[in-house]
């Protein structure tokens, strides 16, 4: 049976793509963020997950406003990194885990989540950067299932709905008949705001409370509406919804393997957190 071996939540600041490309990991500006990863690389070497289920948000690469799904899942055999217009270097394509993707897709729809199904899929920095942070040689040792959450067009799916989606994904993984070790990724956040007169807004206190909640009170943030989250974490801080989807996949408390928090990377309170089932 498939088993979730860990949840990895991390920021996906676009500028990280250029820093990786230019090998700036030890540069004083970037080092406090990249230093969060060696302990995670050691964990990956030891645990060796086979499959990644990545919960992320598209920023106008695979989806445009002509067709904007609230939730989507990629069942494609190949997940393709492409020019997204932000100047981020592209990466080698990612093999899709089609069997698990279709299984989760079927299970979610039967579980009342109306997923959009993608048999072809482009993946942007929110999917690719966490992968490159986990496997810096970009020789992907895993197959992937992308789960995409709308954070572009308000109203967004509520925090409560996102957590429940995660719970349903967790049930689907648990019922997948193949033996496999699954790492669930939640990509984005934490507090940041790119637009408006309040651009540059960061809320360290909220972020630290949210990170604490991931361990033993994961539904804490489900009390907030999308606009509450904008107020508390900035317009793009709402990407913490992806952390909630990911965290929902494992019931009950979890153990922190490693966590890191640094302000700022670009405009963002940058956070990384690896959790293991207890």
């Amino acid at each position: 049976m498939a088993k979730i071996v860990g949840i990895l939540n991390t920021s996906h600041v676009p500028a990280l793509g250029k820093a990786i490309h230019l090998n700036l990991q030890q540069d004083p500006y970037w080092k406090p963020f990249f230093d969060g990863f060696p302990p995670i690389h050691e964990w990956l070497d030891r645990v060796k997950p086979d499959i990644v289920v990545s919960c992320y948000n598209d920023h106008g690469l695979n989806f445009f406003l002509d067709k904007q799904p609230t939730f989507a899942i990629g069942t494609a055999p190949e997940l393709v990194s492409a020019d997204e217009g932000w100047g981020i270097p592209t990466m080698p394509s990612f093999p899709g885990q089609e069997d698990l993707a279709w299984h989760i897709r079927d299970s979610l729809i039967r579980d009342d989540f109306d997923m959009l199904t993608c048999q072809e899929m482009l993946v942007d920095h929110a999917f690719t950067l966490p992968m490159a942070l986990l496997w810096p040689d970009q020789k992907w040792p895993v197959k992937s299932v992308p789960v995409c959450v709308n954070t572009v067009l308000f109203p967004l799916p509520s925090a409560r709905r996102c957590f429940k989606l995660g719970e349903a994904i967790g049930r689907a993984i648990a019922s997948f008949p193949e033996d496999a070790k699954v790492l669930v990724i939640g990509s984005g956040g934490l507090s940041h705001q790119l637009e408006g007169e309040r651009a540059g807004f960061i809320n360290k206190e909220f972020d630290l409370k949210f990170m604490d909640s991931m361990v033993s009170d994961p539904e804490w943030a489900t009390q907030f509406s999308d606009l509450d989250l904008v107020e508390q974490t900035g317009n793009e801080g709402v990407e913490l919804l992806n952390w909630l989807v990911a965290r929902g996949t494992v019931p009950g408390p979890m153990k922190v393997v490693h966590s890191n928090f640094h302000i700022p990377i670009s405009n963002t309170a940058a956070a990384t957190m690896l959790l293991e089932p207890v």
Binding site: G87, L153, F154
Partner: protein, 118 residues
């Protein structure tokens, strides 16, 4: 038809909602084409002609030619689409854009970000 209830607003945090998506569709559709280098190059070669090709109105074209980020948001620009214009076409980073919107220098904007960590 009854008047719609007043929307909740958060000072300094413009929300890309259904009104913005309707107002800004042509602008955002143009910015979406900047996922391709050929389109970025075509825009640079004649900005106004490229805007007109996508049916942008005068207010939108003016916001583009004057590099007025707050105005681009007011005329319906979504930040992820505007980011393709600002980053991929104009070569600005998020601290440039932050400084432009908040009326400070880039160095002052960066100092504010650092201070948020203390």
């Amino acid at each position: 038809m009854n008047a719609r209830p007043q929307k909740r607003t958060i000072p300094g945090a413009p929300i890309f909602d259904s009104d913005a998506a309707r107002r800004g569709y042509a602008l955002n559709k143009m910015c979406y084409t900047f996922n391709s280098k050929a389109n970025r190059d075509e825009f640079v070669s004649d900005e106004v002609a490229y805007c007109k090709k996508f049916g942008l109105d005068e207010a939108q074209i003016k916001a583009i030619t004057t590099r007025d980020v707050l105005a681009l948001i007011r005329v319906g620009g979504g930040v992820y689409f505007l980011g393709k214009l600002a980053g991929g076409v104009l070569g600005l980073d998020m601290q440039d854009i932050g400084a432009l919107q908040t009326g400070v220098t880039k160095e002052e904007f960066k100092a504010k970000l650092v201070a948020a960590g203390h």
